[in-house]
């Protein structure tokens, strides 16, 4: 399947997020273990790290077994059938947003699939449905640019500086 810029994405506006953990707990409630993870930045701000379902996804290229693929809505999804048993877990290293996590249950890693089963029956991602502030949204990829306010970009920069201290400009 070719990687197209169309489709949907998940977007967190870190400037309006209050770090309440609802996205993480709701995701965990539905999927046994969460696929979006709270982290505390060095500034002491609590924010969720999440999968961006990147247009050019590093993880898709990193996985030699083709276990990561793009579905018809543009979500990068893990196919446990192919993933099972991999020991290198290169996908987790390759993700610039620390969105893929190792797990000791079932397959080696887990990741957000934008609530694949929910999308199949016409529902959106659960985290976006329950976020009290509306900071996390399910958008068309083309809406992304409008969603990124100056405040959101600033806040995102602070989160990324925490994730990649060395790349700090």
């Amino acid at each position: 399947m070719s990687e197209s810029p169309a489709g949907k994405v998940l977007y967190v506006d870190y400037s309006t997020c209050i770090g309440c953990e609802t996205c993480e707990t709701v995701c965990g409630f539905l999927h046994d273990a969460p696929r979006i993870h709270m982290t505390r930045t060095r500034d002491g701000v609590l924010v969720p790290l999440y999968c961006r379902h990147c247009e050019k996804a590093h993880c898709i290229r990193a996985c030699h077994r083709g276990a990561l693929a793009r579905d018809r809505d543009g979500a990068v999804v893990l196919q446990p059938m192919l993933c099972r048993g991999c020991e290198t877990r290169e996908c987790t290293q390759s993700c610039p947003y620390a969105a893929m996590v190792l797990t000791n249950k079932g397959v080696a890693v887990r990741k957000c699939d934008m609530c694949s089963e929910r999308r199949a029956i016409g529902l959106g991602p659960a985290c976006a449905a329950m976020c009290p502030t509306g900071a996390i949204r399910f958008l068309d990829r083309c809406e992304l640019a409008c969603a990124e306010t100056e405040a959101a970009k600033d806040a995102e920069k602070r989160v990324l500086a925490h994730l990649r201290p060395s790349a700090n400009k």
């Binding site: 953990e21 409630f29 002491g44 016409g122 009290p132 509306g134």
Partner: protein, 361 residues
Amino acid sequence: MSSSDTMHFAFVRPDPLPPNGRSVAIVGAGPSGLAAAGYLASLGYEVDIYDKLPKAGGLMTFGIPSQRIPPARIQAGVLELERKYGVNFHLQTKICCSAPLHEEEGDHFSCDIRGLGELVEDHDAVIICTGSWKSRALNIPGEHLSGVYTSLQFLFPIRAAGYGKPGVTAPAVQGLDVVVIGAGHSAADVAHSALRLGARSVSICYRKTRRDAPCGLFEIDQLEAAGARFLEQHTPVRFDGEGSLAGLVCRVPHQEELVYIPAQAAATAIGEIPTPPFAKELGLENVRKGDVKWLNMTAIENVFVAGDVLTGPSKIGKAIESGLKAARSLANWLDLKAQSRQAEFQDEERVPRPSPRTSPH
């Protein structure tokens, strides 16, 4: 209303299943109660939800400042529960027992009082989601001087005044020097609110260092940028004043002399404690320890409990998770009970305790 402007408490299903003939009462319409209501209503339960306050949302509506949490999004979610999922809201109705009541913030709003026993009889099951509203005391002299508030005494009227109750006004701190004690999210919320209400100065006293502050360094920077003063390693010793507050006396490390901070208003924001109706009868201590047959079930068989009333002050996300799990546990229990198979229930999970890493207070 577009879906992005609504908190979808009934997110598990696109629409409710047909009525299943069972009814559940939920006491408390905070995040845990609303999440439990959404889950059960989706499955076809008849849900009655009671709250002593005139609006649903709990601390999302009456504690956390509206600058941080959009009230319209919460209320749209409540409306969706009511209209689309048939949840019956009974607001301004306090549920209690016959014993003398403790007083908490917000009691003066309730008009109707009903007994828990009545609810237990009228429904197949009940979930208690009454939160954690009694503020912890500092236990230093002068705490009862006028001008000394707890964080909820300070914040609650600001939100409540907006809901059109005569007689409720925001704390009059305009032109005053305000001191806030604590460095959690409530403390930050009080400090921001005091600045917005026109305080002449706002000082935040914290007994540990900036780095230890639960609200985080970024928040402190923001408070300072907004005009507040952050005083680290200041341990309150006593409130000073005759009748009304004049200042706060603090101890600082490596210094014999005590520090005096002039203040005509003060707010203590050092956390809340749970105030469940029927705490003893429900055997909450055992539920907290996970010492129960069924996840989130209390000593009374068909009464469940969820949210901050169980765990102590936590976070919206934790409260929601607790409400969802209690609702799922309750539904499983009723399913098995209907077939007289309760003994088959396997409880693999312990009730989660709030972790210090994420506790906001």
